[in-house]
Amino acid sequence: MRVSLDRIRITRGNFSLTADGTFDKGVHLVSGAVGSGKSTLALCIAGMLPPERGTIQRSGIGSTMLSLQFPEHHVTGMTAAEECTSWGCEPDTILALCGLNGHNKTSPLALSRGELKRLHLACVLNNPHDLFLLDEPFSSLDCEEKYAFCTLIAHHTSNITIIFTHEQSVLPKFDRIWEIENGILHDRGTPPEALKTWNSPPPLIKKLIAAGKSPRNISQKDILEAACRT
């Protein structure tokens, strides 16, 4: 199971992004500054945006799921229950799972952004897929939900999960770190080595590295373990 980007180039107006690399089974982080092209790359890997040049090879990938940055862009149901059904999920189970009991008849567009994101992620992650592309899954989640999401992602070991995010504080363990800089996707490698070549790590990790306490990975547990190291 792998996704290979063979010298792809994506262009949108003045913006262009080139990417070359292979995503194997595991959890990948694609980081990058605002406007660096994370969402565009996610759309391209999902097959929603054809690259201007180069090819994307998907071997052993039966099903792909893309979670867009804005949960409101996924809405097709008139009620929260219909929205769950549209993802092939059982409404009562999903609504209970994300603390939205009694909201069956509420319009998804009337939910708060955090509630809608929670509902959306619960639906997306409810079904198994070979390739998960999650664009800014942490945005609008509260702290508790961010940690719960990290726990959930830790169990995603049998497929390829690519998380496109600039989340700075609550992150899961990653198998590989990628970084978009100046319109190019760079493979920073596997942690902990990747943390040395990662140009824009979260500030806390940067401080730990500067203090000579480089963490093994970037989850909260790794950060705490590194900080306590003498």
Partner: protein
């Protein structure tokens, strides 16, 4: 000082709250009433009962800069320049001053390269920066920002943080799920299920939150 007294709006109940000048961050779980409180403070919605006074003036009579939590809901015009210039145009600012003020704010935010772009073609983070520029361009007395940082990367968050401190706005009210950002505020408010749980100096409020997911990681590791 912002004075909130016997405020009732849907699930939100706040008996008494005084918010001092400076940067105030509202934290709490999703659905706790953060956005509702911000909308009331911005004068977008009116309380069912109770009062909000900003230096003894109701919110609707205060100059407010506002950034919505949905980046797409901050857009009125197609082009970035028109979007940022709109508050100045609506206030009949002298036409020769408008380009200068727009230019100054985009330089402060480092988004000069976006000025001729179409707003709809920008990324979520870029849209938030444009909305921030539109909110800051007329130097409002109060700036209300609803989870703007959820769409920004670390470097941008820090840059915007410095900019807010130097913005000249007497009150900056924001909600955030980034506790590192919250820790840098002058005043912190914790809401839960529509109720005020804690309000005060961030260090004091976070003391109550030790052991919860809301306790900043930087405080945990002592960095």
């Amino acid at each position: 000082m912002i004075d909130i007294c016997d405020l009732r709006y849907r699930l939100l109940h706040i008996d008494h709250l005084k918010i001092p000048h400076g940067i105030t961050t509202i934290i709490g779980p999703n659905g706790s009433g953060k956005t509702t409180l911000l909308r009331l403070l911005a004068g977008i919605t009116v309380p069912e009962s109770g009062t909000i006074l900003i230096d003894r003036v109701p919110p609707r009579k205060t100059e407010v800069g506002w950034v919505n939590e949905f980046p797409d809901r901050n857009i009125l015009f197609s082009i970035v320049y028109d979007e940022i210039a709109s508050p100045l145009r609506f206030r009949y600012t002298a036409t020769d001053e408008i380009p200068l003020k727009v230019d100054a704010v985009v330089k402060r935010l480092g988004i000069q390269h976006l000025i001729s772009r179409k707003v709809r073609e920008l990324s979520g983070g870029e849209k938030v920066l444009v909305a921030l520029a539109a909110a800051l361009v007329f130097t409002p007395g109060m700036l209300v920002l609803d989870e703007y940082d959820t769409h920004l990367d670390g470097a941008r968050c820090s840059q915007v943080g410095h900019l807010l401190s130097a913005s000249g706005c007497e009150y900056v009210l924001r909600c955030s799920q980034n506790m590192e950002t919250a820790a840098t505020s002058d005043f912190l408010i914790l809401l839960d299920k529509g109720n005020l749980v804690h309000a005060g100096d961030p260090a004091e409020v976070f003391e109550h939150l030790s052991g919860t997911p809301y306790y900043p990681l930087s405080l945990k590791v002592g960095l």
